[in-house]
């Protein structure tokens, strides 16, 4: 199992029956693969659909039905199409139960940076700032390090997405819960030691007496 699959399978366990969930493009979108249809979860795509479905059969794509990454999708029974004002009203107004986003950095205060690397990458924030500010739960799904540098840092030096403290961070090494006191090491990935996690993490972690291995969907 590669890092991305492991992260997606752990995040999938956060999703409960009947939730409205927004998955970011890239790694977060993989989470849908591990959520059983029987849970009756509605996935929102911020470009305007509640009840995102799988890619349609070859040749049956509709130019007017895509996800927020521009990929062709279908819709599940009970789906609704909405305009951008309604879509972001759901997000900012607290009607979205959970969002799963990628990250560039998360810090000890639980703050996320994920939209800009000054001088290198300025794609724009898209919907990320609204999602992090407004969703009832914010889960960050990201690899623990990039180019040998920890993405779990003492204090974000990249521009913040929001002052909001995110609710959970899942990497291929650990699940971390940001709290008022700091980042609590909630779970270890299967077969990963505490030392490996500490060595790979710039931030100081709060480590309880027992840190169980994570369970995967």
């Amino acid at each position: 199992m590669d890092a991305k699959e492991l992260i997606a399978r752990r995040v999938a366990r956060e999703i409960r029956a009947g939730m409205l969930v927004n998955l970011g493009i890239g790694l977060p979108s993989l989470v849908a693969n591990y959520v059983p249809q029987s849970l009756g979860v509605f996935f929102q795509a911020e470009n305007g659909v509640i009840g995102l479905g799988a890619r349609p059969p070859e040749g049956m794509e509709n130019l007017g039905l895509t996800d927020a990454g521009g990929g062709f999708v279908s819709a599940v029974p009970g789906a609704a199409s909405i305009d951008s004002a309604m879509s972001f009203g759901l997000i900012r107004g607290g009607h979205l139960d959970m969002t799963v986003l990628g990250g560039l950095q998360v810090d000890e205060a639980g703050r996320l940076a994920n939209w800009k690397v000054p001088g290198k990458m300025v794609p724009g924030m898209g919907g990320a700032m609204d999602l992090v500010t407004g969703a009832a739960r914010v889960v960050v799904a990201m690899q623990h390090s990039a180019r040998g540098e920890s993405k779990v840092v003492k204090s974000c030096d990249l521009p913040l997405t929001s002052l909001r403290r995110v609710d959970l961070v899942v990497t291929e090494l650990a699940a971390l819960k940001p709290t008022e006191e700091g980042l609590v090491l909630l779970e270890r990935a299967p077969g990963v030691s505490l030392k490996e996690i500490r060595d790979a993490t710039e931030a100081d972690l709060l480590i309880p007496g027992e840190v169980p291995e994570m369970e995967l969907a």
Partner: protein, 218 residues
């Protein structure tokens, strides 16, 4: 509503330096024939208000590639490398706005509001230079309304009086922008007799629409 016209005739209404709201999300739900006619007219110094910069060769990306644009107000430009290069070189001024804030600023412009108060962007770069207003113990950013000289709308069906309906994820910014342009030009997939779009399915009432584009190929 003043009847249906060709994209070329509609483009003639738009001068250099105009501000344009153009619907679409990564070019889904963008008025492509209208955009092609604007490119052919070799306009300059346009201001675009749109969700994103699309991709080269698609949607508003075609206007950016053509050098028609001086200023962009959008939430995302990451999929258009030409836009990024023109922003870095200074050819295009770019204001990046959180997507939910962008749509609400347009809504405020179209609905006669003096702005919106949003928590999105507090404590980030987006806050810089903006007023913070406290309401019932919570802090908000004051975001100002947006209007434009023209709104260029893509719709699914239009009827003879300009009532519009939209398809699936091709709604996006279109219904909101239809209120915020001084002149509203809609490019429907098809035009149908009055009554084919049931009143409850009308998302943009025809009273907002000034011009419709004729069907493709006519």
């Amino acid at each position: 509503m003043k009847g249906a016209m060709t994209p070329q005739a509609a483009a003639e209404l738009i001068p250099d330096g105009a501000s344009l709201m153009i619907g679409g999300f990564m070019a889904v739900g963008s008025p492509e024939r209208m955009i092609d006619a604007l490119v052919a007219r070799r306009l300059r110094d346009l201001t675009l208000i749109c969700n994103d910069a699309a991709m080269p060769g698609k949607g508003v990306g075609k206007l950016i590639s053509a050098g028609a644009v001086r200023r962009v107000i959008a939430s995302h430009i990451g999929l258009n490398p030409e836009m990024q290069a023109k922003m870095i070189s200074g050819e295009i001024d770019c204001e990046l706005v959180p997507q939910g804030t962008l749509v609400e600023r347009i809504r405020a412009g179209g609905m006669g509001l003096g702005g919106v108060l949003t928590p999105t962007g507090l404590g980030t770069e987006v806050e810089e230079g903006k007023r913070i207003i406290e309401v019932e113990g919570k802090r908000f950013l004051l975001e100002t309304p947006l209007k434009a000289d023209f709104s260029l709308i893509s719709a699914w069906q239009a009827d003879y009086v300009g009532n519009l309906s939209y398809l699936l994820t091709a709604h996006n910014f279109n219904p909101v922008m239809a209120l915020a342009g001084k002149t509203v030009i809609a490019e429907p997939e098809s035009i149908v007799p009055v009554g084919v779009i049931p009143p409850d399915a009308v998302k943009t009432p025809g009273v907002l629409v000034h011009h419709l584009l004729v069907r493709a190929g006519r």
